[in-house]
């Protein structure tokens, strides 16, 4: 009986040991050997790749260093040819930068201002162009900069020269003995057209109470261009058509009439060509 108990215990222990060992990672010796061999081969191949890459990189770095050296040699030759060094070139670049700043200031000016500064601009351009005699001008960077600045000076000078002062919107005329509005309007330096006397009358309504009565030494405005708040009456116009043009509504003719009653008179249906009407804001 005792022996059988011992045997059952041994059996239980063996089964327990078997279960425990089954839970651990197991690998057949043969598989282990195969994988070790495969990994070993991979290591050999990888090591070759690493060596080859290291060799290539070293070679490339050497090549880069040679190229750098060659480039440096060429630049030394260039500087020798122009008779300066990098510091000399930098000095000229600084000089050109200062000129560029001056030109930028001129570029911000209006055309009218430029028209008054043409002589100054000519001097700046002369300073820029003087660099063309310098051997450093042979360098592309300097060459391009000098040409660019010179062109910009030309453009600014041209802008100044092209500036046309705006025509005055009014001239003045001083009445002499024997003048009347019809005669003044027909003069060459006024309108060369007697029928435009209404322009003079309506532009000077504060001075002229009666168009048939003007006095020597009176100074009249001679309108040359229509102002923003004016309408110059043309043949065929009437207050309704003008209101349509300026306000977009013919019914606003009353507004026009009220603002210009002194020049139109009592009859709103009769307006004359060349009358200058004041257009009140809508």
């Amino acid at each position: 009986m005792k022996l059988s108990k011992v045997c059952v215990m041994c059996l239980s222990l063996l089964i327990f040991a078997g279960v425990v060992s089954a839970q651990e990672v197991k690998m057949k010796k043969e598989d282990w050997q195969n994988e070790m061999n495969t990994l070993g081969q991979q290591q050999t191949v990888l090591q070759k790749q690493i060596d080859s890459l290291n060799q290539s990189i070293t070679g490339l770095k050497d090549e880069g260093a040679k190229v750098d050296q060659e480039t440096e040699e060429i630049w030394k030759e260039i500087y020798a040819a122009i008779g300066t060094d990098k510091a000399g070139v930098d000095e000229m670049k600084a000089k050109l930068s200062a000129l560029e700043a001056t030109i930028n200031d001129y570029a911000k000016m209006s055309d009218e201002m430029l028209s008054q500064k043409i002589k100054e601009l000519d001097s700046v351009k002369a300073l820029v162009d003087a660099n063309r005699k310098d051997r450093r001008y042979a360098l592309s960077e300097i060459y391009n900069k000098v040409n660019d600045l010179s062109n910009r000076c030309d453009q600014l000078i041209q802008r100044g020269k092209n500036y046309m002062p705006p025509k005055p919107k009014h001239d003045t005329y001083v009445v002499i003995d024997g003048d009347y509005l019809w005669r003044i309007s027909s003069k060459k330096d006024v309108y060369s057209d007697p029928f435009q006397w209404m322009k003079i009358y309506s532009a000077n309504r504060d001075q002229i109470r009666n168009p048939d009565l003007i006095f020597p030494r009176q100074s009249f405005l001679i309108p040359r261009a229509q102002e923003a708040n004016e309408y110059w009456v043309m043949r065929g116009d009437n207050l309704k058509s003008i209101a349509q043009k300026v306000y977009g509504s013919p019914s606003d003719w009353v507004k026009l009439y009220n603002a210009n009653k002194s020049i139109i008179g009592e009859d709103a249906t009769r307006i004359y060509p060349h009358t200058i009407l004041i257009v009140p804001k809508n």
Partner: protein
């Protein structure tokens, strides 16, 4: 009773023999550790190859850029020599 005991003993003996045999055909713990180490080495080498490949590409690009600069310098030299002749002529013309 004796017969049962004999059978149990026989079974136990067989199991022990089987267990011993199977233990002998599996890789040991040390061997498995060795395998893990080798795998790690291979992985590390693969990473190294990746890094070096990238490094090679970078250096290749760098060399390419340097070659371009060299070409530019050569062209610049030609242009400078040509312009210097023009400057000389212009200065001589202005001197006369």
């Amino acid at each position: 009773m004796k017969a049962v005991t004999r059978r149990v003993l026989l079974l136990a003996g067989s199991l022990m023999l089987f267990g011993l045999a199977s233990c002998a055909s599996n890789a040991s713990k040390e061997e498995l550790q060795q395998l893990d180490e080798r795998r790690a080495q291979v992985k590390s080498m693969q990473n190294k190859v990746g890094e070096l490949t990238n490094e090679k590409k970078r250096v290749e690009q760098e060399v390419q850029q340097k070659k371009q600069k060299l070409d530019q310098a050569k062209k610049e030299k030609e242009a400078v020599l040509k312009r210097l002749e023009e400057i000389e002529k212009a200065n001589q013309g202005a001197g006369q």
